[in-house]
């Protein structure tokens, strides 16, 4: 039994279908399907993708979906977040991007997206779009080691699955040792060793961002093994 972890469909229904098909073909059956954000985007038909995600066919897994960066942009455009007018979207994709996203996701669908969770704690794993710091937190193999370490501590998990970067990577972080000495008004306390066992950040890839090539992640909780799959489709 294993989990399939997807992110970044971005409205690319063909890519999502290709991944679903690849999941069905797995010899080791997939028991849980996670989509950690960015169901919508600018890569295709958002409404059709939302419909497909919300209504799996008989015999298909019910996806567990959480909020991503693109969903937050929808909330912002629809006045459902603290930040109005989606300035992040405007900065990255300009007025056309704003217009397209506004037109391509119905109010009803935005309501459904708003009802989704921020992430999932499952076994000793956290599955979340960015990190517990923010949906926009983009972790990559080039993120400073101490920052990866911090995100893992905040996640309170041994494995942090995230999707903001769209990259597939497995990054083991070992906070080997660190001596901490605290002095208060009552005097100096005994130094404490803060070292910890290895933990990892996993980038789960992106289903829809790169046309023709979808990436996603399989995770086997029994063996603790992570596998990345690349699916080509036309």
């Amino acid at each position: 039994m294993q989990w399939a972890i997807l992110s970044g469909i971005e409205g690319n229904l063909a890519a999502y279908e290709a991944v679903l098909q690849d999941i069905r073909r797995q010899r080791n059956p997939v028991a849980d399907l996670y989509i950690i954000g960015d169901v919508v985007g600018l890569k295709g038909d958002n409404e059709a993708t939302i419909e497909r995600v919300r209504s799996p066919r008989s015999g298909e897994l019910e996806p567990q979906v959480c909020i991503g960066w693109w969903e937050e942009q929808c909330f912002s455009l629809h006045g459902l977040s603290g930040l109005p007018d989606a300035p992040e979207l405007m900065a990255q994709f300009g007025g056309d991007g704003v217009k397209h996203l506004w037109k391509s996701v119905s109010r009803e669908s935005v309501g459904w997206l708003r009802s989704l969770h921020f992430g999932f704690h499952e076994l000793d794993c956290l599955l979340i779009h960015g990190s517990t710091v923010s949906y926009a937190d983009e972790l990559t193999p080039d993120t400073p080691a101490i920052q990866l370490c911090d995100r893992l501590i905040r996640a309170d998990a041994n494995t942090l699955f995230c999707g903001r970067s769209g990259l597939t990577f497995e990054c083991w972080v070992t906070p080997g040792k660190l001596r901490s000495t605290v002095t208060t008004l009552d005097g100096k306390q005994e130094p404490q060793e803060q070292g910890k066992t290895p933990r990892r950040v996993v980038g789960v890839g992106s289903v829809g961002r790169i046309p023709g090539q979808a990436t996603y992640t399989l995770y086997n909780p029994g063996s603790d093994r992570v596998t990345f799959n690349t699916v080509s489709y036309s």
Binding site: C66, H117, F118, G119, F120, H121, E122, L123, I128, T132
Partner: protein, 262 residues
């Protein structure tokens, strides 16, 4: 009435009367009765005994003599006398009972000594002099559910003297996870004691069972105490939200190891 054993217990506030008596209430060999004259139909002690020892019969204080006449054979009756009650009252004088005084060991003589057949040394607390007896303030809190960190703060402020010189606090408080706690503070004894009452979790709206507080002390700012207590009570909306959370948490705990970030 020969086979009935009647024990009257008296002593200063916080000396340990209820604690001393409670040790006998677990033994269910004989029918058990409890009465606390002068405290009305709902007091913290009464409710606590009802919650902790549901087999103990609670006697209403009025018509006590008539009820005594109808007690079953071998009944064990405990009569707890509040510190404010006059030991020479006719009712007490007329009852054929074994008189137990629970007093601090430091107290050599007192009206309780004079009255008692047996003296038990309880908590070592300072005993107020008769000419400066503290006042008792109490308030029912039934239906109120407390924000736990607020209750903690209130208990600290109250017992450390923010609202008057407090000698004793006891109360029963409901928390949003459905549990109820007995809270006990005696000046001179370390800390504030929180004891979970072994009663079912109340997770359907405002609890319809007794909770309340009793404060004994001097110069109590009663209005401020009441306002502060209310400031620590949760709204209907908050209670509903917490109860939903705890219900789903308990469900997921029994089902599988999973939690969802909301």
């Amino acid at each position: 009435m020969d086979s009935i054993t009647l024990t009257a217990i008296a002593g200063p506030s916080g000396s340990g009367k209820t604690t001393w008596m409670s040790q006998f209430l677990s033994n269910r060999d004989r029918p058990l009765f409890y009465c606390c004259p002068g405290m009305g139909a709902a007091s913290v002690d009464l409710a606590r005994i009802a919650y902790c020892f549901p087999w103990v019969h609670l006697l209403p204080e009025e018509q006590t003599p008539q009820i005594f006449a109808k007690l079953p054979d071998r009944a064990l009756v405990y009569l707890e006398l509040g510190f404010h009650l006059d030991l020479t009252a006719p009712l007490l004088a007329s009852l054929p009972c074994h008189r137990v005084a629970v007093v601090p060991s430091g107290l050599q003589t007192s009206p309780w000594h004079d009255w008692a057949d047996e003296v038990i040394f309880g908590n070592d607390i300072a005993t107020p002099t008769p000419d400066n007896l503290p006042e008792l303030w109490r308030s029912p809190l039934t239906g109120q559910v407390f924000d736990a960190p607020s209750l903690d703060e209130i208990a600290i402020e109250l017992t450390e003297g923010a609202y008057g010189q407090v000698q004793r606090v006891k109360g029963i408080f409901e928390l949003p996870d459905g549990r109820a706690f007995h809270v006990d503070f005696v000046k001179g004894l370390p800390g504030i004691e929180y004891t979970e009452l072994g009663i079912p979790r109340w997770l359907e709206g405002r609890p319809d069972r007794f909770s309340g507080i009793e404060v004994v002390g001097w110069n109590l700012e009663k209005k401020t105490i009441a306002q502060t207590l209310l400031a620590g009570c949760l709204s209907d909306g908050a209670i509903a939200q917490y109860q939903e959370q705890y219900k789903s948490l308990m469900k997921s705990e029994t089902n599988q190891e999973e939690s969802i970030l909301t």
